[in-house]
Structure formats: structure tokens, C-alpha cells
């Protein structure tokens, strides 16, 4: 029987184990640790960048639409 899984808390643990004939063999183990402070900094960076993306897109799309509208409007009176 083979199985894999994850473990708790601030540790991101990935393991792949094999159990056969009552013998348990850990075939691979990967442990990463990140503090909650580091994770929140990355999260806030993402949030800020997402805010910028929405702001830039909203502003530029509106500006472009307005310009297109102005062009159409001026063409009507030619």
C-alpha cells in the first residue's frame, strides 16, 4: 500500500511512504517552513498589485471608451 499526505501548522510537509508486510518505509520527505509574517507580506504584495491592476485597467478602459465616444460624436456632425 502506498500513500502520501501533508502535515500541520506552518510547516508544509509532503511525504510519500510505502507500507508492506507491516514494514513502513518513508520514501521521500519534503519540509518547507514559512512564517506567517512572510506569508502575509507576500499576500499584501499580491493585494496591492491586484489593486493597481484593477485601477490601471479601469482608468484606461474608461479613457479609451470616452475617446472612442468623442470620435463617434464628432463624426456625426461632419
Amino acid at each position: 500500500m502506498s500513500f502520501s499526505g501533508l502535515s500541520t501548522g506552518q510547516y508544509n510537509i509532503k511525504f510519500f511512504a510505502n507500507s508492506q508486510d507491516n514494514h513502513f518505509v518513508l520514501k521521500s520527505l519534503e519540509v518547507n517552513h514559512y512564517s506567517i509574517a512572510t506569508a502575509l507580506k507576500v499576500f499584501l504584495l499580491g493585494l496591492a498589485m491586484f489593486g493597481i491592476l484593477i485601477g490601471v485597467l479601469y482608468g484606461r478602459v474608461n479613457k479609451t471608451n470616452k475617446e472612442a465616444h468623442d470620435v463617434r460624436h464628432s463624426n456625426q456632425f461632419r
Binding site: S4, S7, T8, L40, G46, M49, L53, V56, V61, T64
Partner: protein, 470 residues
């Protein structure tokens, strides 16, 4: 392996039936293709229903059906929600699709845009980014076919992977984008119906309070909203999804192919329809431990849980749904990447005076080449699907700002755009290997943004956009 599997006979019967169906349909639709524009862009007149379904079906892929459960299994609630936020890519692309059609009514590929707006250097960098991404996605789709078959049936990984690659190459070869869009429509119906049924059956047999109780006791970190790796993953996945859609010719070719006025509405609606799908597919992974399902690889958790809950019939249903999801994405990616290679490499630099017949022949040759390359790359199973996909995040997230500032701004020059992609990709790859796969896209996007700002501030130009001629 799951205890409950599809028998060898059933697995072969389903594979043969679907293969014949999609290939025959591709051949039937391909008869209408008269020129290169028909083959590559379905005549540029795709209506709202087909446009919406192809956008949604293409975005429902191995990512959604296999990786969403994997990420839920690894990152819990954040993994599930973070994955559903990839819908923002489709939603935010809606205004871009309208702008693309306005600026380049006769455009063919995303490479056309970069070449015209930023010049040759940025175009070359963009092409490298595009190919790395396209090959990463293609390989992940081929791998997903193999993972699916080996998880649910006695067939081997190599057999499943080979079948999905051969079927998709065949019907795309025969029918071009017209076949891709039409099969996507049917595949969307299968995916939505199948996913809804699996979620309903899972909830009926394994109610929410029981799932919550089991997860609280065995894997409490999956419900922890301050799970550090998952927090880092959340925005990373958003920028990964946005980068994938903003730069890829899969979506640009659709923006060109949709009829005027259709693109914006279609991308918006397809994004909203797509958003709940990863939550549904991811949710079932939370039941894994309580059901005693321990997959040998985390990307197999979704099919194995569904097969355990629903029995043999469930395994068949999962098989059909995931097979459709894989096909709907792989065909689109094959068609779009072959277009990119034909129009941006062959037509631009090797054979500018190529006739429409020569372009169609070259497009088909590129399709075959891509299929063969994908098959070879899939043979050694190098990584899990999630890890492989997020590797490409370092590449695609670097293109977000050059695309936006190119479509809507006039200050960013070609050197700035190229260096933004180079610096972004390099920093993303460093973070991928040094920190984890869930930081590749976010770091790439941040460095790309800073580079664009620098060039807009200190080396600004005044680009005058002129509509593409010819």
C-alpha cells in the same frame, strides 16, 4: 490505485467511442474551411453561444479537474478559493478582447500585436515566453490524460497520454479552429453536467458536516485561513491565471475569431460561469482522508475520491468529464500555438509571400510537430501537474503589464517591454526554485511592473497606434 476502477473493456470502449466521435466531427466541420483565415480563425464570425462555450471549455482543463482537487488537498480552503479566482483572467480579458478587435481587426496572433507595438526584440522575448508556456501546458494536459487513465483503469499512464495527444491532434488537424470551437461546445455541456452530478452525489453520500468534522480532526491546517503556504499561493494563482490569458494566443485568436461586439460579453459570461467549477471539483478532495483515499500522487486525488464515492459508474463519469476537459483545452492550445508558429515564424520571416494553401499546409505540419513534441515530453513523468503548471507562471505573469501598457498606453517602449518580460521571468524562476512554486507568478509580475514603470518614467516614448493593414 483506486479500489474501484473501470474495467479494461469499458475503458477501451469509452476511449474508442470518444476518439471516433471527435475525429469524425472534426473532419465534417473541416470541409467548410476554404482558406487560412477559415482554418485559423473560423471565418472571424463566431457568435455569442459558441464564443462563450469555447472560452469556458478551454479554461476548464486538467487544471480545473485534476489540479484544483490537488491544491485543495495541499492548501485547503485557500487552494480551492485561490483556484476559482483564475476566472478573473477571463473576466478582465473581456475589455481587452474588445480593444484587440478594434485595434487589429485583421490581426491573427498575439505575436502580431507585440511585433507591431514593441518591435522585434520584444517580439522575440514574447515568443520564447509563449512557447515555454504553451509547451508546459501541453505537456501538463498530456500528463493529465495519463494520470487519469492510470488512476481509474488498468490502462497505463503511457496509453492514456498517447490517446489524448493523438485524438486532439487528429481532429484539430482535420477541422482547424472551427472544429475546436464546435467540439468545445459539446464538451462544455458534458463538463457542466458531469461536475454538477459528481458534486451532488458526493454531498449526498458524504454531507458537509461530516466532511468538516473529518477534516478538522485529521487535517486541520486545510481549514486554517492563516496557512502560510496557502496565503502565498492565493494571489500567485490570480496573477498566473491573468498572465496565461492576457498573453496566450489561445485567447487572442478567439478575440480575433469572435464576431464584432461578441468578445467582451462572451469572456465576461464565461468567466462568471467558470468561477464555481474549481470549488466544486476541489471540494471533493476534502473528503479524501475520511474516505480512506490516499493517492500516491496528489494530482490523482480528485478522480480517486469521485470513484470511491460513486463507484464504477462514478469512475466512468469522471473519466468522460476529464477526458472532455482535457480535449477541449488541448485542441485549443494546439491550434493557437500552430497559428503562432505559422504566422509569426514562417510567414513573417521565412515565406512572406506564402499563398493561403501553403499557410494551411504549414499550419497542419506545425500541429503534427507540436503533437509529436508533446508526446515525447510527456513520456518521462517529470513533475506533478500543479508543480509543472506553476513553473510556467514565472513566464506568463511577466507579460501582463507589457500587454496592458501596450494596448492602452503609448509611453512604454520595446526595450522596456522586453526587459520587463526577461527580468520578470528570471525573478519568477528564482522564487520558484528557492521559495516554492506558489511564488513564481507573483514575483514575476511584481518585477515586470517595476521595470515597466522605470521605462515609462525615464525612457518614455509617444507611440501612435495605427490600425494594422492587410
Amino acid at each position: 490505485m483506486s479500489d474501484i476502477q473501470i474495467s479494461l473493456d469499458n475503458a477501451i470502449a469509452i476511449l474508442v467511442a470518444f476518439s471516433v466521435l471527435w475525429i469524425a466531427w472534426g473532419w465534417y466541420l473541416g470541409r467548410k474551411n476554404k482558406n487560412a483565415d477559415d482554418f485559423a480563425l473560423a471565418g472571424r464570425n463566431v457568435g455569442f453561444a459558441l464564443a462563450t462555450s469555447t472560452a469556458m471549455a478551454t479554461w476548464v482543463t486538467s487544471n480545473t479537474t485534476l489540479v484544483a482537487p490537488q491544491l485543495t488537498y495541499q492548501f485547503g480552503v485557500w487552494g480551492m478559493l485561490g483556484y476559482s479566482m483564475a476566472a478573473l483572467g477571463l473576466i478582465l480579458f473581456a475589455p481587452l478582447a474588445k480593444r484587440i478587435k478594434q485595434l487589429m481587426p485583421k490581426g491573427v496572433t498575439s505575436g502580431d500585436f507585440i511585433h507591431q507595438r514593441y518591435g522585434r526584440f520584444a517580439w522575440a522575448v514574447f515568443m520564447v515566453v509563449s512557447f515555454c508556456y504553451a509547451l508546459g501546458w501541453l505537456v501538463s494536459l498530456g500528463m493529465a490524460g495519463g494520470v487519469l487513465l492510470s488512476a481509474l483503469s488498468p490502462l497505463s499512464y503511457e496509453t492514456g497520454m498517447t490517446v489524448i495527444v493523438v485524438v486532439c491532434v487528429s481532429y484539430t488537424l482535420l477541422g482547424g479552429l472551427r472544429a475546436v470551437i464546435a467540439t468545445d461546445f459539446a464538451q462544455t455541456l458534458i463538463i457542466i453536467g458531469g461536475v454538477c452530478y459528481i458534486a451532488y452525489a458526493s454531498l449526498t453520500q458524504n454531507p458537509l458536516p461530516e466532511v468538516y468534522e473529518a477534516v478538522s480532526q485529521t487535517q486541520p491546517e486545510l481549514l486554517n485561513l492563516l496557512f502560510p503556504a496557502a496565503l502565498m499561493f492565493f494571489f500567485n494563482n490570480i496573477f498566473f491565471g491573468i498572465g496565461e490569458i492576457f498573453h496566450s494566443n489561445v485567447w487572442w485568436s478567439r478575440a480575433f475569431a469572435f464576431a464584432p461586439g461578441v468578445g467582451k460579453k462572451s469572456f465576461l459570461v464565461s468567466g462568471l460561469m467558470w468561477m464555481p467549477v474549481p470549488i466544486v471539483t476541489g471540494f471533493i478532495a476534502l473528503s479524501a482522508n475520511s474516505l480512506g483515499v490516499f493517492p500516491p500522487s496528489p494530482d490523482m486525488v480528485g478522480p480517486m475520491v469521485a470513484a470511491k464515492v460513486l463507484g464504477s459508474a462514478g469512475a466512468i463519469l469522471v473519466f468522460v468529464v476529464v477526458f472532455s476537459a482535457l480535449a477541449s483545452s488541448m485542441d485549443s492550445l494546439l491550434a493557437a500555438t500552430a497559428d503562432l508558429m505559422t504566422h509569426d515564424l514562417y510567414r513573417k520571416y521565412l515565406m512572406p509571400a506564402a499563398s493561403t494553401e501553403q499557410l494551411m499546409t504549414m499550419n497542419r505540419f506545425m500541429l503534427l510537430l507540436l503533437g509529436l513534441f508533446t508526446w515525447l515530453m510527456c513520456l518521462p513523468r517529470v513533475a506533478t501537474l500543479g508543480a509543472l503548471l506553476n513553473f510556467t507562471g514565472a513566464f506568463v505573469a511577466s507579460t501582463i503589464w507589457p500587454i496592458i501598457y501596450g494596448l492602452y498606453g503609448n509611453k512604454l517602449n520595446g526595450t522596456g517591454a522586453a526587459l520587463a518580460m526577461v527580468f520578470g521571468t528570471v525573478s519568477g524562476l528564482i522564487c520558484y526554485f528557492q521559495v516554492g512554486f506558489y511564488t513564481a507568478a507573483i514575483s514575476s509580475c511584481a518585477v515586470s511592473l517595476l521595470t515597466c514603470w522605470y521605462f515609462k518614467r525615464f525612457q518614455a516614448i509617444d507611440y501612435k497606434w495605427q490600425e494594422q493593414e492587410g
